[in-house]
Amino acid sequence: MTEKPKFAMCWAASCGGCEIAVLNIGEKILDVDTNFDVVFWPVAMDAKYKDVEAMADGSITLTLFNGSIRNSENEEIARLLRRKSKILVAFGSCACEGCIPGLANLSPVDELIDTAFSTVSTDPVNGNRPRTSVTVPDGDLHLPELYPVVRPLSSVVSVDYFMPGCPPESHQIAAVIDLVIKAIQGEAELPASGATIGAGGSTVCDECSRTRAVKKIKAFTRIQELEEVDPDLCLLEQGIPCNGPATRSGCGALCPSAGAQCIGCYGHADGVIDFGARLMTAFASVIDSEDPEEIDHILDTLPDPAGQFYRFSLAGSLLGAARSAWEAR
Amino acid sequence: MSGYLLYPGCSLEVGARAYRDSIRAIEGPLGLELTEIEDWNCCGATEYLGINLIPAYALIGRNLALAAGQANGSRTLVAPCSACYLNLAKADYYMRERPILGERVNEALAAGDLHYDPGSITVRHLLDVMINDIGLDAIEERVTHPLVGLRVAPYLGCMVPRPDYEHRWSDHEYPNELDRLLKVLGAEVIDFPLKTHCCGGHMTQIGPDTAYELIRRLLHAADQFKADVIATVCPMCQLNLDAYQGATNRHFGTSYETPIVFFTQLVGLALGLDAEAAGFGREMVTARHALDRIGVEPPSPEEPAETGRRPRKDPKSLPMPTMPGAEGDDR
């Protein structure tokens, strides 16, 4: 029998949810095994970086890379896998646009370390600072270097496909794996490089069953602060800051149909340069006032604009990180 | 009871006691509660501004700061004296219009550990409060002795309706507030053409001849309309028209004898106070004859108040432009 195409999956700065999502595809996982030779997947099997280094460049057919680039190790493995892979997929929101870890980009790295290592909740070790290398009797121990800002995968290596979601929906993962297999067997065409796969072409409202009318909003309210939420009416029209209008479809409007506002994990729609920009303009458009003072009062009801508009996309946004974070070098 | 801060001003202390006494006398019956600002100082009248700008405004500023500091639940400062009313309102307004002035004034106030945020105090005239807060209906209800048959010339003078930074008055030239109040008291109110013209102000002191002419104009017009009394809202107007009426008569060889009273004194009478309680007896030109007139039986209410103008009934005559709300537009 001929050699099976090689499959790899790797996590960088991420929570691991994406790995679970892959396992969630059920018996489809068996297809992966039958059609691929899994060469590297730290979560699922034992393998060393040096094994990967030993492989020939481009010898891995498909690599699903999840997690963002937070430290030198993340970058190293990203570059390594890029070299070794034919198809590199930024898998999940972290790899695509930084996701929750990206929110760290609003603060300088030192503050992050302080919070982590010198607050009451943590026991100070070695002068409170993790060091990149420490000498012990039997030699030097090394830790990867923490970067000042979190970056999406595509800002360190070129990426073939983007698969959004936090995590990507299992049925979408299954579909993508199907597609790749078919493509390998020459039964299907792969989309153009740089495309977003495993998601829809429009935004969440397209899949949302709530009724919508013309929107005019005098104040935004946190969903938990509402007396009652109309189960059928568009959440944004009820003053709930729902990110659905700007968020790429593909999840089946999971959150809105469960009565919670969309928080935007599927990222921006096609042709959009900056996710937050779309949300800002959308929210500004539905504010029902032409009086500067009143407008300000209404905007006061959005206490954390950056968090609202960039919860998942901050690291991948045009500004990428706060000035203080960039300058902390 | 609606509470206000009161800035009496120097004149009410002595020169215009009739004003102060009558205000204090009608305060209760009208449901007013006027709390005097503690240790207020002179507003500078029209003199200090001409000497030195910043000190002049600092002088006024101290009063505003004291008022703001004095918490009696009210942020409304009532000033019965026109000059005080204007100076206080003006300082508050200019400190906003020209922020640098506000800064300077506060720099000065800081020397006395005071500070005033322009806009934090609302400066209003007593008449404004009576018309717009108490309301004519409420006042009418309390009238027990209508001033029927008393022909009154309503006289506001300059500094209440002008410049009127906050647009509180119905008009700069012909405000109708005082007219409407006096009508409610039952008086015959004449359409006094000079109701907002000048009484001479400080010219009685620095250029008496100029002042006498201005006083004469007012007395002449009032006389033309056969006014029994001129009702004023300002101590300075009262003083000039009253105390200098004799001098004016001597100057022009005229013989005017028109008593000049504060509108609050007439309110007092209408509410049933006796003449003394209403502050009468302090005027230089006696108001006795005027008072006699109200003593007499009132004519039947149907009879319309004779306004001193010729009625136009001539069929050939052309219609006048209709004055929207001219008749009985009581807010």
Binding site: P245, A269, R278, T281, S285 | H220, K316, S317
Partner: protein, 685 residues
Amino acid sequence: MIAPISGGAGMSGNGGRPRIGVYVCHCGSNIAGTVDVTELRTWVERRLAARGVVVARDYKFMCSSLGQDLIAKDIAEHRLDRVVVAACSPHLHEATFRTACRRAGLNPYLCELASIREQVSWVHTDTASATEKAKAVVSGAVERVARNAPLETLRVPVHPATLVVGGGIAGIQAALEIAEAGHPVYLVERDPSIGGHMAQFDKTFPTLDCSACILTPRMVSAGSHENITLLTWSEVERVDGYVGNFTATIRKKARYVDIDQCTGCGICQEKCPKRVIDNVYEAGLGYRKAIYTPFPQAVPKYPVIDQPNCTYFIKGKCRACEKFCPTGAISFEQEDEFVTIDVGNIVLATGYDLFDPRRVTQYGYGRLANVFSSLEFERMTNSAGPTNGEIVLRDGRTKPTSVGIIHCVGSRDRNYNNYCSSICCMQSLKFAHLVKERTGATVYNFYIDMRTPAKAYDEFYQRVLEEGTLFVRGKVAEVTDAARGPGEEGKLIIQTEDTLAGRQRRIPVDMVVLSAALEPRKDSSEVAKRFGISCSHDGWFIEKHPKLDPVATMTEGVFIAGCATGPKDIPATVAQGAAAAARVLGYIQQGEIEMEPIRAQVIVERCSGCRICNDLCPFNAIDFIADRGVTEINPALCQGCGTCVAACPAGAIEGTGFSNEQVVAQIDGLLLRNLEPTAVEPALV
């Protein structure tokens, strides 16, 4: 259209890049004097080659025919598919160069202007920095043009009928011009008769010919013209559609008179027992009946019943008019009617309101009997007016021996209207003349400045001077009846500073006439909104261009004429009526209208139907298609502002001519991000 840098019209060679020609104009020394044009050109060659520039030239006058030929030649020789001209403002020569490109076979919208004159050479002095800025500006234009798409101008058919709103002289003029040209016109008038303010006047300055004599014939022909449908006692309720294809809904107010029966004999008016002060036509100086035609020569001749004042409507009995009407034309049951009409163009000639002089309390109008407003005075001097043209005091009989005429009442005064009403001087001169002529009284004119700039106007001023009218330069302070002494008893005293004599004067007169300001109609802003045009802050309709397009508005197909755009005298008003008609006829002649293809359009497959954009369009171009759950934009209604493009959260609306790609690329170009990364000069960032 999103034009990827490798897309666009017939691109060949150059590694998939566009083939761009850049042309730097010297504009004599206007540009070359401040910008180093040679340096600019060579920089473009060197640094922008990688961005697709294949030709770069600088030339003395690009807009000259030689300059244009230069471009045409290159388009052919170098197979250019994009052109950038670095010269003056696009508002000046964009058309010129785009036409040149079209002639050379290149789609005009693939040509961009980079303004390095108005925005660089004329506003900066230092050559070095000006040249650097020019580089950035050109670089921006190059990036933009690379993403321009070939566009075709839009064409919409024009409905031949026209709606004229307002039956004053401006509206009548416009209606007649269009009707004469053989096209249908609907002339809508709010009052019972057309004629407007001009019908109230007796004489018109400076010729002093009788207003009625010149106006009435026009009114009659407007009333009887086969192409004009007269809709008096009517108002436009709503307007839909767009240039060439408007639909207007008009409310015909109940006349309570059946115009098919009515012969206009006037018996009803004789018999009506109810006398009403006529505040409209007689300016409050005279009376009319509760059933009335505003004036004898009214067009149409049918009367209306003034419902709120009619005894029958108030008390439920009377019906005198009905009893005496020989043709049984009275019908108290009549109700408002609505008619809907289709038109291709609209002319708004809604005129002005007179400033209410009561607001200037110190002039005593309304309080002092013998103070008159200018309109009252016009009626008084009118031989058909309440006094049969006699100038008398309010008592209706006494002739004044002295009259004061006050200019600028409510004009040139920040407490009322800041602007000059432009007709008051001439009006006041006319009044002065009439008073002299008819009463021989002493006349004083109180003015701030005499403004008599038009044909034969200043001559009229001279004439009035000769007649002995006394001119006092000073804005009157007050008019009072409070006499200071015997000389003033029983008079009105005009108090003013004679600014030329430098002293205060009190001038006793019998009568005062206030030359009141012209003001926008009280409802002008609602009207503007209804017709989709804009009002200046003081309420006059805004022209598309105050000088070069004075009767057009920003809304294609809606034109404005007469005092609705600002105070005007009769000649100017008539001229504008005619001008508006000419513009309308132009459109009708074309049969269809070309429109700039700058429009928004929805990429339906991307639209999620979130409806964020639905409320953003003041031109109602955005429709939500409920059954398909998507939003669409009507290209003919769309005016191309791009607000919805910027607002769409899904990026599903694209703006032709100003696409995101174009603008973003221009930003990058301006910031020189387009140069090879290595070449980004450090000083920039």
